[in-house]
Symmetry: C2
Protein backbone atom coordinates (compact mmCIF):
# COMPACT_ATOMS: atom_id res chain seq x y z
CA UNK A 1 0.00 0.00 0.00
CA UNK A 2 1.23 3.46 -0.90
CA UNK A 3 2.27 5.97 1.73
CA UNK A 4 -0.48 8.28 0.57
CA UNK A 5 -3.18 5.67 1.17
CA UNK A 6 -1.71 4.62 4.50
CA UNK A 7 -2.01 8.23 5.62
CA UNK A 8 -5.57 8.56 4.31
CA UNK A 9 -6.69 5.39 6.10
CA UNK A 10 -5.12 6.36 9.42
CA UNK A 11 -6.38 9.93 9.21
CA UNK A 12 -9.90 8.78 8.40
CA UNK A 13 -10.09 6.54 11.44
CA UNK A 14 -8.66 9.11 13.85
CA UNK A 15 -10.63 12.05 12.45
CA UNK A 16 -13.89 10.12 12.78
CA UNK A 17 -12.99 9.14 16.32
CA UNK A 18 -11.59 12.32 17.81
CA UNK A 19 -12.46 15.09 15.39
CA UNK A 20 -10.22 17.14 13.14
CA UNK A 21 -8.98 19.49 15.83
CA UNK A 22 -8.52 16.63 18.27
CA UNK A 23 -6.20 14.65 16.02
CA UNK A 24 -2.55 15.58 15.54
CA UNK A 25 -0.44 14.79 12.51
CA UNK A 26 1.90 12.83 14.75
CA UNK A 27 -0.91 10.52 15.81
CA UNK A 28 -1.82 9.98 12.18
CA UNK A 29 1.69 9.27 10.92
CA UNK A 30 2.39 7.05 13.91
CA UNK A 31 -0.73 4.93 13.27
CA UNK A 32 0.05 4.86 9.55
CA UNK A 33 3.68 3.96 10.30
CA UNK A 34 5.06 6.63 8.03
CA UNK A 35 7.26 9.63 8.61
CA UNK A 36 5.74 12.83 9.97
CA UNK A 37 6.86 14.94 7.04
CA UNK A 38 5.11 12.64 4.58
CA UNK A 39 1.80 14.40 5.24
CA UNK A 40 3.06 17.76 4.13
CA UNK A 41 4.94 16.20 1.25
CA UNK A 42 1.92 14.38 -0.17
CA UNK A 43 -0.93 16.70 0.83
CA UNK A 44 0.66 20.09 1.51
CA UNK A 45 -1.08 20.79 4.80
CA UNK A 46 -3.40 19.34 7.39
CA UNK A 47 -6.36 21.21 5.91
CA UNK A 48 -5.74 19.66 2.49
CA UNK A 49 -5.49 16.23 4.13
CA UNK A 50 -8.93 16.74 5.67
CA UNK A 51 -10.35 17.64 2.27
CA UNK A 52 -8.68 14.60 0.70
CA UNK A 53 -10.19 12.27 3.29
CA UNK A 54 -13.67 13.66 2.63
CA UNK A 55 -13.26 13.74 -1.14
CA UNK A 56 -12.34 10.07 -1.26
CA UNK A 57 -15.77 9.27 0.14
CA UNK A 58 -17.77 11.92 -1.66
CA UNK A 59 -16.38 10.96 -5.06
CA UNK A 60 -17.44 7.38 -4.36
CA UNK A 61 -20.85 8.27 -2.93
CA UNK A 62 -22.20 11.26 -4.79
CA UNK A 63 -22.73 9.64 -8.24
CA UNK A 64 -24.67 6.80 -6.63
CA UNK A 65 -26.80 9.22 -4.61
CA UNK A 66 -27.46 11.41 -7.62
CA UNK A 67 -28.53 8.36 -9.60
CA UNK A 68 -30.79 6.90 -6.92
CA UNK A 69 -32.48 10.26 -6.32
CA UNK A 70 -32.67 10.90 -10.04
CA UNK A 71 -34.69 7.70 -10.56
CA UNK A 72 -37.23 8.96 -8.03
CA UNK A 73 -37.39 12.39 -9.64
CA UNK A 74 -37.94 11.03 -13.12
CA UNK A 75 -40.48 8.39 -12.20
CA UNK A 76 -44.07 9.22 -13.08
CA UNK A 77 -45.48 8.09 -9.70
CA UNK A 78 -45.48 10.25 -6.62
CA UNK A 79 -42.94 8.78 -4.19
CA UNK A 80 -43.45 8.53 -0.43
CA UNK A 81 -40.94 10.26 1.84
CA UNK A 82 -39.93 6.85 3.14
CA UNK A 83 -38.92 5.95 -0.41
CA UNK A 84 -36.96 9.17 -0.79
CA UNK A 85 -34.94 8.62 2.36
CA UNK A 86 -34.52 4.93 1.63
CA UNK A 87 -32.67 5.92 -1.53
CA UNK A 88 -29.74 6.79 0.73
CA UNK A 89 -29.51 3.42 2.41
CA UNK A 90 -27.91 1.24 -0.23
CA UNK A 91 -25.28 3.77 -1.37
CA UNK A 92 -24.39 4.47 2.25
CA UNK A 93 -24.10 0.81 3.22
CA UNK A 94 -22.09 0.11 0.07
CA UNK A 95 -19.33 2.23 1.61
CA UNK A 96 -18.59 -0.78 3.81
CA UNK A 97 -17.28 -2.60 0.73
CA UNK A 98 -15.28 0.44 -0.27
CA UNK A 99 -13.55 0.69 3.12
CA UNK A 100 -13.69 -1.14 6.43
CA UNK A 101 -16.30 0.61 8.62
CA UNK A 102 -16.83 2.92 5.67
CA UNK A 103 -20.44 3.79 6.46
CA UNK A 104 -19.85 4.70 10.08
CA UNK A 105 -16.62 6.51 9.38
CA UNK A 106 -18.13 8.62 6.62
CA UNK A 107 -21.19 9.64 8.61
CA UNK A 108 -19.06 10.47 11.63
CA UNK A 109 -16.73 12.53 9.46
CA UNK A 110 -19.72 14.38 8.06
CA UNK A 111 -20.80 15.27 11.56
CA UNK A 112 -17.32 16.45 12.45
CA UNK A 113 -17.31 18.59 9.35
CA UNK A 114 -20.29 20.53 10.61
CA UNK A 115 -19.13 21.12 14.16
CA UNK A 116 -15.33 21.22 13.98
CA UNK A 117 -13.47 23.62 11.77
CA UNK A 118 -15.86 26.59 11.83
CA UNK A 119 -17.78 25.46 8.81
CA UNK A 120 -15.01 25.49 6.23
CA UNK A 121 -15.80 21.85 5.49
CA UNK A 122 -19.50 22.57 5.16
CA UNK A 123 -18.64 25.17 2.59
CA UNK A 124 -16.28 22.80 0.79
CA UNK A 125 -18.90 20.04 0.60
CA UNK A 126 -21.90 22.13 -0.46
CA UNK A 127 -19.93 23.88 -3.20
CA UNK A 128 -18.17 20.72 -4.43
CA UNK A 129 -21.23 18.46 -4.60
CA UNK A 130 -24.30 20.63 -5.23
CA UNK A 131 -26.09 18.10 -7.48
CA UNK A 132 -26.71 15.72 -4.60
CA UNK A 133 -28.48 18.41 -2.64
CA UNK A 134 -30.47 19.64 -5.66
CA UNK A 135 -31.71 16.16 -6.51
CA UNK A 136 -32.64 15.53 -2.91
CA UNK A 137 -34.68 18.72 -2.65
CA UNK A 138 -36.44 17.89 -5.91
CA UNK A 139 -37.31 14.38 -4.73
CA UNK A 140 -38.70 15.64 -1.42
CA UNK A 141 -40.73 18.28 -3.25
CA UNK A 142 -42.21 15.60 -5.48
CA UNK A 143 -43.18 13.53 -2.44
CA UNK A 144 -44.66 16.48 -0.52
CA UNK A 145 -45.53 19.30 -2.96
CA UNK A 146 -47.47 21.31 -0.36
CA UNK A 147 -44.30 22.06 1.59
CA UNK A 148 -43.21 25.66 1.01
CA UNK A 149 -39.61 26.39 0.11
CA UNK A 150 -38.95 27.85 3.53
CA UNK A 151 -40.48 24.96 5.47
CA UNK A 152 -38.56 22.61 3.22
CA UNK A 153 -35.34 24.46 4.01
CA UNK A 154 -35.81 24.13 7.75
CA UNK A 155 -36.97 20.53 7.72
CA UNK A 156 -34.08 19.39 5.55
CA UNK A 157 -31.69 20.99 8.00
CA UNK A 158 -33.45 19.34 10.91
CA UNK A 159 -33.06 16.05 9.07
CA UNK A 160 -29.40 16.69 8.40
CA UNK A 161 -28.99 17.40 12.10
CA UNK A 162 -30.69 14.20 13.14
CA UNK A 163 -28.57 12.05 10.88
CA UNK A 164 -25.26 13.74 11.46
CA UNK A 165 -25.59 14.09 15.20
CA UNK A 166 -26.80 10.53 15.65
CA UNK A 167 -24.03 9.11 13.56
CA UNK A 168 -21.28 11.16 15.12
CA UNK A 169 -22.12 9.54 18.46
CA UNK A 170 -23.39 6.27 17.04
CA UNK A 171 -20.70 4.15 18.69
CA UNK A 172 -21.65 5.37 22.16
CA UNK A 173 -25.37 5.05 21.39
CA UNK A 174 -25.01 1.49 20.11
CA UNK A 175 -23.09 0.57 23.26
CA UNK A 176 -25.90 1.92 25.43
CA UNK A 177 -28.50 0.07 23.37
CA UNK A 178 -26.53 -3.15 23.77
CA UNK A 179 -26.31 -2.76 27.54
CA UNK A 180 -29.83 -1.51 28.26
CA UNK A 181 -31.84 -3.59 25.81
CA UNK A 182 -29.60 -6.60 25.09
CA UNK A 183 -30.13 -5.70 21.46
CA UNK A 184 -27.07 -6.00 19.29
CA UNK A 185 -27.75 -3.18 16.85
CA UNK A 186 -25.37 -2.19 14.07
CA UNK A 187 -25.17 0.82 11.80
CA UNK A 188 -27.75 -0.62 9.41
CA UNK A 189 -30.12 -1.02 12.37
CA UNK A 190 -29.67 2.59 13.35
CA UNK A 191 -30.43 3.69 9.80
CA UNK A 192 -33.60 1.57 9.87
CA UNK A 193 -34.60 3.34 13.08
CA UNK A 194 -33.94 6.83 11.83
CA UNK A 195 -35.75 6.71 8.50
CA UNK A 196 -39.32 6.58 9.87
CA UNK A 197 -38.38 9.36 12.26
CA UNK A 198 -37.10 11.82 9.67
CA UNK A 199 -39.79 10.86 7.15
CA UNK A 200 -42.49 11.63 9.72
CA UNK A 201 -40.71 14.84 10.71
CA UNK A 202 -40.54 16.15 7.16
CA UNK A 203 -44.14 15.05 6.59
CA UNK A 204 -45.42 16.85 9.70
CA UNK A 205 -48.51 19.03 9.14
CA UNK A 206 -47.76 22.72 8.76
Amino acid sequence: MSTKNKILDAAEKLFADKGFNGTSLREITSLAEVNLAAVNYHFGSKKELIKAVMSRYMDELSPKLEAALGVICQSSDQPSLIEVFSAFVEPLLALNNFQEHGTTNFLQLLGRGYTDSQGFLRWFLTTSYPNVIDNFVEAVHKAYPALSAEDMFWRLHFTMGTIVFTMSSSDALMDIARNDFNNNVDIAGVIKQVIPYVAAGVAAPI
Copy 2:
Protein backbone atom coordinates in the same frame (compact mmCIF):
# COMPACT_ATOMS: atom_id res chain seq x y z
CA MET B 1 -18.16 42.13 38.22
CA SER B 2 -15.99 39.50 39.84
CA THR B 3 -13.05 37.93 38.05
CA LYS B 4 -14.74 34.55 38.28
CA ASN B 5 -17.83 35.79 36.45
CA LYS B 6 -15.82 37.67 33.86
CA ILE B 7 -14.08 34.40 33.06
CA LEU B 8 -17.35 32.46 32.93
CA ASP B 9 -18.94 34.98 30.56
CA ALA B 10 -15.99 35.08 28.20
CA ALA B 11 -15.57 31.30 28.26
CA GLU B 12 -19.26 30.76 27.54
CA LYS B 13 -19.21 32.96 24.47
CA LEU B 14 -16.01 31.47 23.05
CA PHE B 15 -16.88 27.86 23.86
CA ALA B 16 -20.26 28.23 22.13
CA ASP B 17 -18.58 29.79 19.12
CA LYS B 18 -15.50 27.67 18.59
CA GLY B 19 -15.92 24.59 20.76
CA PHE B 20 -14.06 23.54 23.88
CA ASN B 21 -11.01 22.18 22.10
CA GLY B 22 -10.96 25.14 19.77
CA THR B 23 -10.76 27.75 22.51
CA SER B 24 -7.56 28.44 24.43
CA LEU B 25 -7.34 29.80 27.95
CA ARG B 26 -5.41 32.77 26.61
CA GLU B 27 -8.30 33.71 24.33
CA ILE B 28 -10.67 33.48 27.27
CA THR B 29 -8.59 35.53 29.71
CA SER B 30 -7.83 38.07 27.02
CA LEU B 31 -11.53 38.58 26.20
CA ALA B 32 -12.35 38.64 29.91
CA GLU B 33 -9.50 41.11 30.53
CA VAL B 34 -8.08 39.10 33.43
CA ASN B 35 -4.75 37.40 34.02
CA LEU B 36 -4.11 34.01 32.47
CA ALA B 37 -3.40 32.33 35.80
CA ALA B 38 -6.79 33.41 37.15
CA VAL B 39 -8.47 30.47 35.44
CA ASN B 40 -6.41 27.89 37.26
CA TYR B 41 -6.64 29.86 40.50
CA HIS B 42 -10.45 30.06 40.47
CA PHE B 43 -11.40 26.85 38.67
CA GLY B 44 -8.38 24.55 38.99
CA SER B 45 -8.23 23.47 35.35
CA LYS B 46 -9.78 24.00 31.95
CA LYS B 47 -11.93 20.90 32.38
CA GLU B 48 -13.41 22.26 35.59
CA LEU B 49 -14.06 25.59 33.87
CA ILE B 50 -16.06 23.79 31.18
CA LYS B 51 -18.12 22.08 33.86
CA ALA B 52 -18.67 25.39 35.64
CA VAL B 53 -19.93 27.06 32.47
CA MET B 54 -22.41 24.26 31.87
CA SER B 55 -23.48 24.04 35.52
CA ARG B 56 -24.36 27.72 35.62
CA TYR B 57 -26.98 27.07 32.96
CA MET B 58 -28.14 23.69 34.11
CA ASP B 59 -28.70 24.88 37.68
CA GLU B 60 -30.86 27.66 36.30
CA LEU B 61 -32.71 25.51 33.80
CA SER B 62 -33.19 22.08 35.29
CA PRO B 63 -35.64 22.99 38.13
CA LYS B 64 -37.88 24.79 35.64
CA LEU B 65 -37.78 21.88 33.20
CA GLU B 66 -38.45 19.35 35.94
CA ALA B 67 -41.43 21.41 37.09
CA ALA B 68 -42.93 21.93 33.65
CA LEU B 69 -42.57 18.27 32.76
CA GLY B 70 -43.82 17.24 36.21
CA VAL B 71 -47.07 19.10 35.60
CA ILE B 72 -47.62 17.07 32.44
CA CYS B 73 -46.77 13.81 34.17
CA GLN B 74 -49.14 14.43 37.07
CA SER B 75 -52.05 15.69 35.01
CA SER B 76 -54.88 13.21 34.57
CA ASP B 77 -55.28 13.86 30.84
CA GLN B 78 -53.14 12.27 28.19
CA PRO B 79 -50.87 14.99 26.75
CA SER B 80 -49.99 15.36 23.08
CA LEU B 81 -46.34 15.22 22.07
CA ILE B 82 -46.63 18.83 20.95
CA GLU B 83 -47.52 19.73 24.53
CA VAL B 84 -44.59 17.75 25.90
CA PHE B 85 -42.07 19.47 23.67
CA SER B 86 -43.69 22.84 24.20
CA ALA B 87 -42.87 22.49 27.88
CA PHE B 88 -39.25 23.25 26.97
CA VAL B 89 -39.97 26.49 25.17
CA GLU B 90 -40.59 28.90 28.02
CA PRO B 91 -37.74 27.70 30.28
CA LEU B 92 -35.35 27.81 27.33
CA LEU B 93 -36.40 31.28 26.21
CA ALA B 94 -36.19 32.50 29.82
CA LEU B 95 -32.42 31.94 29.61
CA ASN B 96 -32.33 35.16 27.57
CA ASN B 97 -33.22 37.09 30.74
CA PHE B 98 -30.61 35.17 32.70
CA GLN B 99 -27.80 36.00 30.24
CA GLU B 100 -27.49 37.85 26.95
CA HIS B 101 -28.04 35.34 24.12
CA GLY B 102 -28.56 32.79 26.87
CA THR B 103 -30.85 30.50 24.87
CA THR B 104 -28.60 30.26 21.83
CA ASN B 105 -25.43 30.00 23.86
CA PHE B 106 -26.76 27.21 26.03
CA LEU B 107 -28.05 25.13 23.13
CA GLN B 108 -24.82 25.59 21.25
CA LEU B 109 -22.82 24.55 24.31
CA LEU B 110 -24.98 21.48 24.65
CA GLY B 111 -24.13 20.52 21.08
CA ARG B 112 -20.44 21.05 21.73
CA GLY B 113 -20.68 18.85 24.79
CA TYR B 114 -21.79 15.95 22.66
CA THR B 115 -19.21 16.24 19.91
CA ASP B 116 -16.14 17.79 21.54
CA SER B 117 -14.42 16.28 24.54
CA GLN B 118 -15.00 12.58 23.81
CA GLY B 119 -18.23 12.44 25.76
CA PHE B 120 -16.99 13.41 29.20
CA LEU B 121 -19.48 16.28 29.21
CA ARG B 122 -22.33 14.01 28.20
CA TRP B 123 -21.45 11.81 31.15
CA PHE B 124 -21.25 14.80 33.47
CA LEU B 125 -24.65 16.12 32.39
CA THR B 126 -26.58 12.85 32.45
CA THR B 127 -25.24 11.92 35.88
CA SER B 128 -25.62 15.40 37.38
CA TYR B 129 -29.15 16.10 36.18
CA PRO B 130 -30.93 12.75 35.82
CA ASN B 131 -34.34 14.05 36.97
CA VAL B 132 -34.80 16.18 33.87
CA ILE B 133 -34.28 13.18 31.63
CA ASP B 134 -36.46 10.91 33.76
CA ASN B 135 -39.35 13.36 33.77
CA PHE B 136 -39.02 13.86 30.05
CA VAL B 137 -39.09 10.14 29.32
CA GLU B 138 -42.11 9.74 31.59
CA ALA B 139 -43.97 12.58 29.85
CA VAL B 140 -43.28 11.16 26.40
CA HIS B 141 -44.35 7.72 27.56
CA LYS B 142 -47.60 9.17 28.83
CA ALA B 143 -48.22 10.84 25.48
CA TYR B 144 -47.31 7.75 23.43
CA PRO B 145 -47.58 4.62 25.61
CA ALA B 146 -47.18 2.20 22.69
CA LEU B 147 -43.56 3.25 22.17
CA SER B 148 -41.16 0.58 23.44
CA ALA B 149 -38.28 1.56 25.71
CA GLU B 150 -35.78 0.96 22.94
CA ASP B 151 -37.67 2.91 20.30
CA MET B 152 -38.10 5.68 22.86
CA PHE B 153 -34.35 5.68 23.50
CA TRP B 154 -33.51 6.11 19.84
CA ARG B 155 -36.15 8.68 19.09
CA LEU B 156 -35.18 10.83 22.04
CA HIS B 157 -31.61 10.81 20.81
CA PHE B 158 -32.75 11.71 17.31
CA THR B 159 -34.67 14.59 18.83
CA MET B 160 -31.67 15.67 20.85
CA GLY B 161 -29.67 15.64 17.63
CA THR B 162 -32.16 17.72 15.75
CA ILE B 163 -32.32 20.40 18.42
CA VAL B 164 -28.66 20.54 19.25
CA PHE B 165 -27.40 20.45 15.69
CA THR B 166 -29.88 23.05 14.51
CA MET B 167 -29.08 25.38 17.35
CA SER B 168 -25.33 24.99 17.07
CA SER B 169 -25.55 26.36 13.53
CA SER B 170 -28.65 28.50 14.08
CA ASP B 171 -26.86 31.77 13.37
CA ALA B 172 -25.82 30.62 9.90
CA LEU B 173 -29.25 29.09 9.23
CA MET B 174 -31.12 32.24 10.23
CA ASP B 175 -28.89 34.27 7.92
CA ILE B 176 -29.71 31.98 4.99
CA ALA B 177 -33.43 32.15 5.77
CA ARG B 178 -33.25 35.95 5.82
CA ASN B 179 -31.54 36.10 2.45
CA ASP B 180 -33.46 33.38 0.60
CA PHE B 181 -36.98 33.99 1.95
CA ASN B 182 -36.91 37.60 3.18
CA ASN B 183 -38.20 36.19 6.43
CA ASN B 184 -36.69 37.70 9.56
CA VAL B 185 -36.72 34.68 11.84
CA ASP B 186 -35.28 34.67 15.37
CA ILE B 187 -34.47 31.89 17.80
CA ALA B 188 -38.08 31.68 18.99
CA GLY B 189 -39.17 31.27 15.38
CA VAL B 190 -36.75 28.40 14.88
CA ILE B 191 -38.10 26.70 17.98
CA LYS B 192 -41.62 27.09 16.58
CA GLN B 193 -40.47 25.40 13.39
CA VAL B 194 -38.73 22.51 15.09
CA ILE B 195 -41.44 21.42 17.50
CA PRO B 196 -43.87 20.00 14.90
CA TYR B 197 -40.94 18.24 13.28
CA VAL B 198 -39.68 16.43 16.39
CA ALA B 199 -43.21 15.75 17.64
CA ALA B 200 -44.07 14.05 14.36
CA GLY B 201 -40.77 12.18 14.39
CA VAL B 202 -41.32 10.76 17.86
CA ALA B 203 -44.94 9.97 16.95
CA ALA B 204 -43.96 8.10 13.79
CA PRO B 205 -45.58 4.66 13.36
CA ILE B 206 -43.38 1.74 14.36
